[in-house]
Symmetry: C2
Subunit: 212 residues, 2 copies
Amino acid sequence: MQLTRERIVCAAAELIEREGVDAVSMRRLAADLGSGVMSLYNHVPSKAALLDGVAEWIMSGIDFSSDPDASWEDQVRAQARAFRQIARAHPRCTMVVVSRPTTSAAGLLPIEHALATLRGAGFGGEEAVRAVRAFVAYIVGSLLREVGVTPSLARPEDDAPAGRLLRLDPAEFPQATSLAAELMVRDHDADFEFGLDLLVRAVADLRPVRRR
Amino acid sequence: MQLTRERIVCAAAELIEREGVDAVSMRRLAADLGSGVMSLYNHVPSKAALLDGVAEWIMSGIDFSSDPDASWEDQVRAQARAFRQIARAHPRCTMVVVSRPTTSAAGLLPIEHALATLRGAGFGGEEAVRAVRAFVAYIVGSLLREVGVTPSLARPEDDAPAGRLLRLDPAEFPQATSLAAELMVRDHDADFEFGLDLLVRAVADLRPVRRR
DNA sequence: ACCTGAACACCGTTCAAGT
DNA sequence: ACCTGAACACCGTTCAAGT
């Protein structure tokens, strides 16, 4: 089968999803694709560029469009949820997406949509830009949490009964100890919606705007 | 000089800051420390564990305490800013801190402090946990943006005049095009404070609480 | 307990050679 | 234009040997 940039990028994304980023090597990828290692370099200039390609490919698979008849609050919410889809659809690729600077247009698309929504709701340019940045920061941070790299109490242990506790010194961590039950609950949907709601309402409070 | 876990971790952090994560190898580190490669393994079980150590070391260098006489809003702000200090003090290590699950107590300390502040302000346990998670998500996302991995318009190019524009198709990106000026401004302080303020005010609105 | 060199099984990428 | 193998300069880590 023909070797293609797209085929290579796609194979890389699948390999990451299957075995993690550390499993990705040009040699391994070539073997998976049934070609010589150096053949890859006819379509991709370097491994770094390949990973950029994976990030872009995943971003471009998200649909950021939203119902233009909905309230701007609901549109922003829909866009945020679309973004978060990345963590659900490509959990192990999320870190790749989020850890490399987006050089492509695909990375700017969610921002374009969000800006359009906010401007359409009557927000000024600077305000819209600032609000979008706050949303993006929150969403990106949420992705990282969901993917499991943000400080948490529940330690993933293969052998231990699900949701075992990190050993905590109650003297040093009185709050974490007394709130252990709440901290162990990991409902990413609810967590995400909670924070998203905070931001949406705070942005709505910035100024009295009427539906356009 | 004696080889020590702390000395190794510290050297790794400095090397990351100087030349980036990709420059870190056990061999390079050993050379920097004037020892044989394998000597490192007497103090650190693996490279991955070493990077965990770097993350922990950086987290433990942040002072999350806040003036207990200040309003809870100001305390939360102070804690958030302390967290953000990481991006200023160790920009190139930030990704390391933020990309690996915190297994140590040092990673839980900021959460402990934030929980104490919110509970002291009268928030319920579950509410406090949710709010803290929203804050952490926002802060972590902000760190990533500040360190330069979040979609942005300003493309860092060594040769181009500072702040050159990504080539944008005005038809596809009307908002980004018309807001190019605003999007190019990169005032991380202002951006961070703007979003932090949104969250603080939204959390304050969750329920009428009086100072404790 | 700590250090070490040799060795193993890998890397990404350059280059020169092929079609 | 695309493919390729050999070669180069690296990796992390195991192991057996030293002190």
